[in-house]
């Protein structure tokens, strides 16, 4: 399985993160997105005429939507991550995968303008981003009321992975995460999952590593 990847792309990170969390093998093929614009070159347009990355290639299968990639990885290696097999659960997962597109457009758009010289109406993108974060905060608060941690059901699903990166990187687009306690707790839970990997702008939880000042047990 080959992932056409860019280290600073939150959408590519979704797929890297998913693979790391479930232990799926992934061969990375770095794309010179910035400054080289390789994604708009002939070779990559032949794979994905939309000119976007990531692109996931597995044999004859070519995927160009990150949500589909998460579903494919989970389907192959960790079907539990697709959610429970009930109509409600399946629908809710789809709901959040679609919601993740709004996060990409708004938070990702603001991030491109603020960080990588992208074009766009920053204020409109930020307003849309804050509206989406408030919606997510309210939903996660509702889950906390029910004793839940994740967006859908009792355990983490591809819905959480799909929404996490652009939310965590909202400050890159000058959108503060300070007002959202439930989002903070959800991100912390995700960053605490075994196999979690970071990307620039999303720090690991250092406290999960052994404290160098405390002698190891049995030492």
């Amino acid at each position: 399985m080959i992932l056409y990847d860019y280290i600073l792309s939150p959408s590519c990170y979704k797929v890297r993160l998913m693979a790391a969390l479930i232990g799926a093998p992934l061969e990375l093929r770095p794309v010179d997105f910035h400054p080289g614009k390789e994604h708009l070159g002939e070779d990559l347009l032949a794979l994905n005429p939309a000119g976007s990355i990531p692109i996931l290639v597995d044999g004859d299968l070519i995927l160009s939507e990150s949500a589909a990639m998460l579903a494919y990885l989970a389907g192959q290696y960790a079907p539990d991550w697709l959610g429970e097999e009930t109509a409600t659960s399946r629908a809710m997962v789809q709901q959040w995968l679609a919601f993740a597109h709004r996060l990409t457009a708004a938070l990702g758009g603001a991030r491109l303008v603020e960080m990588l010289h992208g074009q766009g109406d920053l204020e409109a993108l930020q307003t849309a981003g804050i509206a989406a974060l408030r919606e997510l905060e309210a939903a996660l608060f509702k889950r906390r009321l029910d004793g839940g941690t994740w967006l859908v059901g009792e355990s983490i699903t591809i819905a959480d992975v799909a929404c996490f990166p652009y939310v965590a990187l909202a400050p890159d687009g000058s959108i503060s995460l300070d007002p959202y306690p439930s989002i903070r707790l959800w991100m912390r839970a995700l960053r605490g999952q075994a196999g979690f990997v970071e990307m620039p702008g999303i720090h690991r939880r250092h406290e999960l590593a052994p404290d160098p000042l405390t002698p190891a047990e049995g030492a």
């Binding site: 309210a138 009321l145 300070d178 306690p181 406290e207 405390t214």
Partner: protein
């Protein structure tokens, strides 16, 4: 509105939003602070600025009973004093290197911080339990109007979805108000969810009101 006129204690967060081993940013009288809870459950508050090179400590991490700065790992104890400088591991830092500890109290599910040393306890919130915290892009007056409630010392009392609620309000910046929502202790989980939804409506109205005033 004159908020919190009779007590030096400022309500800044709900206990449930800061589990063991976490740190959050907050604003105390327009000054940035960090509130954190140690692994054993002790809540602490201090300035949100590492005394080394000014990094926000709310970006740091809690290890055991200490808060570490994410930049160079300087480590601070519950008294705010620096305990360890990783670049100079043999140094025993003096207590005078500290991150500006503040007095903090946890009571009735609310975390209160005081700017100066105080002897008193924070006000009691009898018969109420914490629900959730929200930030309104609105002034406290607009929240009072939008909620249809009455002004009390710490904010607003109102009835929402048939339940008594209390909004502890704290201005953080112009047109930005932190709102800690408390509900009657007997409120069922289902009613809590309903109130949470209704709060979003109050926020829309309050912010609409503020925007209108700003445009006028």
């Amino acid at each position: 509105m004159r908020l919190n006129a009779s007590s030096p204690w400022i309500p800044l967060a709900l206990s449930g939003d800061i589990p063991n081993g976490t740190v959050i940013p907050a604003t105390l009288c327009s000054k940035p602070i960090a509130i954190w809870r140690s692994q054993s459950g002790q809540v602490n508050a201090n300035g949100n600025r590492c005394p080394h090179r000014g990094m926000r400590l709310s970006h740091g991490f809690v290890r055991g009973e200490t808060l570490s700065c994410i930049y160079h790992g300087w480590r601070f104890g519950q008294d705010g004093a620096c305990q360890h400088i990783p670049a100079h591991p043999d140094v025993v830092p003096p207590a005078s290197i500290n991150c500006g500890p503040l007095q903090v109290a946890e009571q009735d599910g609310v975390i209160w911080v005081a700017e100066d040393q105080v002897e008193s306890q924070p006000p009691r919130l009898d018969g109420l339990k914490p629900l959730r915290s929200l930030v309104f892009c609105a002034e406290p007056e607009a929240i009072l109007t939008a909620s249809g409630g009455t002004e009390v010392d710490l904010g607003v009392e109102a009835t929402l979805a048939g339940t008594r609620i209390c909004l502890l309000l704290q201005g953080q910046a112009p047109a930005e108000t932190l709102c800690l929502v408390l509900v009657d202790q007997a409120t069922s989980p289902k009613a809590c969810a309903e109130i949470s939804r209704a709060l979003e409506g109050i926020r829309r109205r309050a912010e609409g009101e503020t925007e209108k005033r700003g445009a006028a």
